[in-house]
């Protein structure tokens, strides 16, 4: 009995120890699971940190690009001022001489000496001999006027022709005006036009030229367009060019809008492109409406109108300034794109035509219609849109059909391990049910997977076998010790087995929490998708308004009467 009592006590001790070991193993198991969750969490946080870091790098680079562009613009403007600032004096004298002569307040000597000084101070500049010719003409000095005229024609014949055409018009010499214009037209090739032709357009559209010159101008424009259209590729090129010019007008999406679609929709980049494209419709509608509703102020007199044109001609179209003005434009676009050089360069490539030395007449109309750098007046801008409307419409409609065809009809939504697809968020019920079914399957599988671990099996079976071997083959003390080992193994197995229910409950609870969270995310994502489709449809519908605006424009209604008693309508 004593031995049995001793054995019983020892067994109790062994049982206590087994219980302690089981509890410790259980604790370790809990810690291991906790560690796994923490590792998962850490991985998610690391991924998020990486994404945020990448975003930060991009944002930082853009910020630096923007700062650099802002500083560099000032330098470029200073350089323009430094290199070409002295031309300003010559430019101001153009209208100064005319207006002073109008009211006879300046002596011939002053005119002569001033213009000749400019000739000395501005070598190679075409305007200096032009002013010498002008002052000689005013003083009736034909010999000097002829000599100066030869020089100005040598330096820049097209500008000279336009300059003297406008001067003749100002002086009421219609025949001379038309002859200079004819000379100007002879020098033009519609495939390789110079920028200052915008001044001719301005003069025509603002009603500055007399009826004869006006008719000639409108005729020559038709000839230029017809000549361009003779080339088989022209229409295609124009359409593609306009599609690109309009494409880059798409506004950028706000990085904070539709956050759930951004995170959970596999086709978000295509959706975002579609949304930006659709929002462009309102931008274009407002732009074209603005062009046709803008109030156009006309100068009070013919002299004032011509003076404005002369100032524009002598101020805005000097080829030497173009490289710096092109750089200024690119920097300005970088600032406007918040440092995004890729977007800025895309816009720059479409707007560079406005600052090119030579371009086709069609490209010139495009620049006048769309870009401030063309230096076109509002009336000319309006006319350029009207004249180009067929090309604009063709490019716009191609752009629309391309973008509408690229909108994903159905999108895939990924939330955790579940994924489903929706067209417009209207199948919420079906998707929610699918998500629930997905989690039912996951929970069942996860709960079913909870069982005795291989380690537990190994310890239990190994311990049991060892104990049995000791009982069978050992001496008396070994038998007792073997029994203890056997019971310890059995006890350990029992405690592990009894703990399985707790583990199953924990696994189920974790997955149920994940399921509820996924269901909420799904509902919110589908709501965003529904909002997105509504907004897309609303913005897309505005395209018809843009088409209506362009289709209803008639170039023949856009030539102004002007300040002088000049009236004319292009037939």
């Amino acid at each position: 009995m004593t031995d049995v009592a001793i054995l019983t006590r020892k067994l109790d001790v062994v049982n206590d120890n087994v219980r302690s070991v089981a509890q410790l193993v259980d604790h370790v198991d809990t810690r291991v699971q906790q560690l796994a969750r923490e590792q998962e969490l850490a991985k998610d946080q690391l991924d998020q940190l990486y994404r945020e870091f990448q975003e930060f790098v991009v944002a930082d680079a853009r910020q630096k690009e923007r700062q650099f562009a802002t500083t560099r613009i000032i330098e470029v403007r200073q350089e323009i001022e430094k290199k070409f600032g002295h031309y300003d004096e010559v430019r101001r004298h153009t209208t100064g001489i005319l207006q002073a002569t109008d009211i006879a307040l300046v002596s011939d000597e002053t005119l002569k000496s001033t213009t000749e000084e400019m000739m000395l101070s501005s070598p190679r500049y075409w305007l200096a001999p032009a002013l010498v010719a002008l002052s000689a003409w005013i003083r009736d000095d034909k010999v000097l006027a002829d000599k100066a005229l030869v020089e100005v024609v040598r330096r820049d014949e097209p500008k000279a022709a336009l300059f003297f055409s406008l001067l003749s018009r100002r002086a009421g010499r219609h025949e001379a005006c038309v002859r200079w214009l004819e000379r100007y037209f002879l020098l033009q090739d519609p495939r390789q036009m110079r920028r200052e032709v915008v001044v001719m357009l301005d003069a025509m559209i603002n009603g500055v030229f007399g009826p004869v010159a006006l008719g000639r101008c409108s005729g020559i424009l038709d000839e230029w367009v017809a000549k361009l259209e003779e080339e088989p590729e022209f229409i295609d090129q124009q359409r593609d060019h306009w599609a690109e010019v309009l494409r880059v007008r798409a506004p950028l999406a706000d990085p904070d809008e539709y956050p759930l679609l951004r995170e959970h929709c596999a086709e978000w980049s295509a959706l975002e492109a579609a949304l930006c494209g659709a929002r462009r419709n309102a931008v274009l509608r407002d732009y074209f409406t603005g062009i046709f509703q803008e109030e156009i102020s006309t100068p009070p007199t013919l002299e004032a109108a011509v003076d404005d044109l002369l100032t524009s001609l002598v101020s805005n179209f000097d080829a030497e300034e173009l490289p710096l003005r092109q750089e200024e434009l690119r920097l300005k676009l970088i600032v406007e794109a918040f440092g995004d050089t890729q977007t800025a360069d895309q816009r720059f490539n479409t707007e560079i035509d406005a600052l090119s030395l030579h371009k086709s007449f069609a490209a010139l109309l495009t620049s006048a219609a769309m870009h401030d750098e063309s230096d076109a007046t509002p009336a000319t801008r309006r006319y350029a849109v009207a004249r180009s409307k067929e090309w604009i419409l063709a490019g716009y409609q191609d752009l629309l059909v391309h973008e509408r065809g690229s909108i994903p009809p159905e999108v895939q939504i990924n939330i955790g391990t579940w994924s489903g697809s929706s067209i417009d968020g209207s199948n919420e019920e079906a998707l929610s049910a699918d998500l629930m079914a997905h989690y039912v399957r996951r929970i069942e599988a996860a709960v079913a997977a909870v069982g005795i671990t291989p380690l537990t099996w190994a310890l239990s079976v190994g311990g049991g076998a060892l104990g049995a071997w000791m009982i069978i083959g050992g001496g008396e003390s070994m038998k007792i010790f073997g029994l203890v080992v056997l019971m310890a193994a059995a006890g350990y197995f029992f405690f592990r087995y009894r703990d399985l229910d707790k583990v199953r409950t924990r696994v189920r609870q974790n997955l149920e929490w994940e399921r509820d969270s996924a269901a909420n995310i799904l509902k919110a994502t589908l709501a965003e998708l529904a909002d997105f489709r509504r907004e897309l449809a609303r913005e897309d519908a505005i395209a018809s308004q843009v088409e209506d605006i362009l289709e209803n424009v008639q170039p023949s209604n856009l030539v102004l009467g002007g300040a002088a008693p000049i009236r004319g309508v292009i037939s």
Binding site: P232, D236, A394, L400, V401, R404, G405, A543
Partner: protein, 156 residues
Amino acid sequence: MRRPLLGRQSAIVTFLEPAVGRKTGAAIGPKLAYRLRQRRSPRYLQAVARLDAGRHLGDRAALDRLLEAIAAEFPDLTLDQRPLGLVSVCHLGDPYEVHICDFSGDILDHYKRGQPMPPLYERARRLATHPSYMFIEVYPDALRAVTATGTVAVNE
């Protein structure tokens, strides 16, 4: 499963006759692109509109009239320059979404929402359901979206 409504046996021999389109001096390159961009005629648009299968379910004559209109619309183009077929909204009602008029096989097929179409036509599906376009002409290398007024936009 797609649902063929009309048989493949052609009654429009003239349309399929190679000699019709094989004229010398047919447009190529930019000229062809310009030609295919021209506004479609009212007769052609009306013929397509009559394809509304709600009224012409299984109507061989409606398809024949359309094929005649196609031949009349592009008399100067060779067969391989003409559209392979059209895709437009199906008015049979839900679940039918679009139908294909395949000129090469003279068949009119209706497709349900989500039902796959032949790859050449599938790319036109989204555009065909857009309210701005009456139908989409399908070419091997491009889609041409035609509005109710006959204007044409190209997606290459």
